[in-house]
Amino acid sequence: MAFDKMELRDIEVWDGNFAAAQALRQCQIDVVAAYPITPSTPIVEGYAKFLSDNYVEGEFVMVESEHAAMSGCIGAAAAGGRVATATSSQGFALMVETLYQASGMRLPIVLNVVNRALAAPLNVNGDHSDMYLGRDSGWIQFDAYSPQGAYDLNFIAFKVAEDHDVRLPAMVHQDGFMTSHTAQGVKTMTDDVAFNFVGEYKPMNDMLDFEHPVTHGVQTEEDWHFEHKARQHNDMMTKVMPKIQAAFDDFEKLTGRKYNIVERYDMDDADVAVICMGSSVETAREVATEMRAKGIKAGVVGLRVIRPFPFFEIQEALKGVKAIATLDRSAPGGAPGMMFNEMAGALFNEAERPLLSGYVYGLGGRDLTKKHLVDLYTELQANVDAGKVTTQLQQFIGVRGPKLAFL
């Protein structure tokens, strides 16, 4: 091999960004086309440094915008390379048009999204507005709660996305600053073990196969567009989850680290549960344990896979639960909130369904404190005791001023 290997300690102290950059190095990405934006910049900077220090054999393409970054990734992926990049917030928003191109063209690009609020007002801190913006784009979406997850899920993302039965791009989400800039112990894999997990890239319909010329990104009108979108949706709905589960199983055998499509904490006998994503899952787990000491049977459900939405896994995880709270870290713009809506959709036809209430929290990096969650669990228990939702269906938590509640 023409590049050097890096000696890693079994446990390194990395923040989420550096963990993701190390994963891109170990996957030996052929092309990274990137435009810097806080808080995701250190990921692509890290890859560029590894490249210039001869730890990767690849290309770094400096472009003039995030739209161009993803466009460059699309071209490189269509040409037949392993491709990744990273972005956040406004950059992600500028990328949206090309995200749909990538998924429609079935190119297995991995995009690290370090979640950050969307302006206005301008804000560099973490919330899930950008993640929510991408949820209909046809990408697989994984959510990391910690630097360890940001590292591990990159390998899993490549393995699933590049599978020839899947061929769909994947995002790996982590919370801006709370995960991306908070250093924690991260269990590593050696370069060889890590690369062997994802394996050599296997091209499919690549433009550099000169014996089989292809035209990528064709136009279809009312006579064909629907069939293409239907095929893409079918593959997302039927083919992806089994491959994710298989990748999680393989990864557990390799590293001992177990990931689940829906992460359940203390859910076996839970009466009340919080459903959330990102670093909030870890805070909620801590509070749930404390609530149990107070006699409230509290649990936490974390989405590890956001798209495809784990409809059946959610039904299974919430069996027997009496009241649930959905936590949306994005301003829903006149609706109850994505998490609330998805849970309602998954549970509505169930014979026994929990009382459902939604909470909007943490916008623009506002902390979700343990006190907020203690109050929330207490409210859920009050709902269970009353046999109905005792509050309005949508409440804002952690915002200054008179209490905000709707619906």
């Binding site: 063209m105 190119l107 319909n205 014996e211 089989h212 035209t215 064709v218 095929r231 893409q232 593959d235």
Partner: protein, 131 residues
């Protein structure tokens, strides 16, 4: 192909130019290539054209100007001899006529409905004033 269902095509908004494997495509004439049904070479866009060029080989000097300038690769030339126009892909832009250096021109534009034999029979004579 027009009526196949959502599960009957290759994924990826992608079309193949040729059926099967190809090699030495540069050394193979267009008419001998295994173009697929998806290739634009197979599709006729003749109905996009309102005016058409007519080629009069009696005055042609095989300078290849029309072949070089045609934006749709619709001038057919073999061994540097102009032999005709690909009327399935010509859009009737008239550039070939503009660049034709002979007197009279070896290419002239006519309405799409014009009869080619009749127009050749009454081709304009050499223009003496252009000397």
């Amino acid at each position: 192909m027009a009526n196949t269902g959502w599960d009957e095509f290759e994924i990826g908004a992608m079309l193949r130019t040729f059926d099967g494997k190809i090699d030495d495509i540069a050394g193979t004439l267009q008419e001998d290539r295994a173009y697929s049904q998806n290739s634009s070479f197979v599709a006729s866009v003749a109905d996009w054209r309102l005016k058409k060029p007519v080629f009069n080989k009696d005055f042609c000097i095989d300078c290849q100007f029309c072949w070089i300038y045609c934006p749709d690769i619709s001038i057919i030339s073999r061994d540097k001899k102009m032999i005709g126009i690909d009327m399935d892909h010509c859009k009737g832009c008239g550039i070939c006529v503009e660049v034709c250096p002979t007197n009279p021109k070896s290419l002239l534009m006519f309405s799409e409905q014009a009869d080619e034999e009749a127009e050749l029979a009454q081709w304009p004579a050499k223009d003496e004033k252009e000397k």
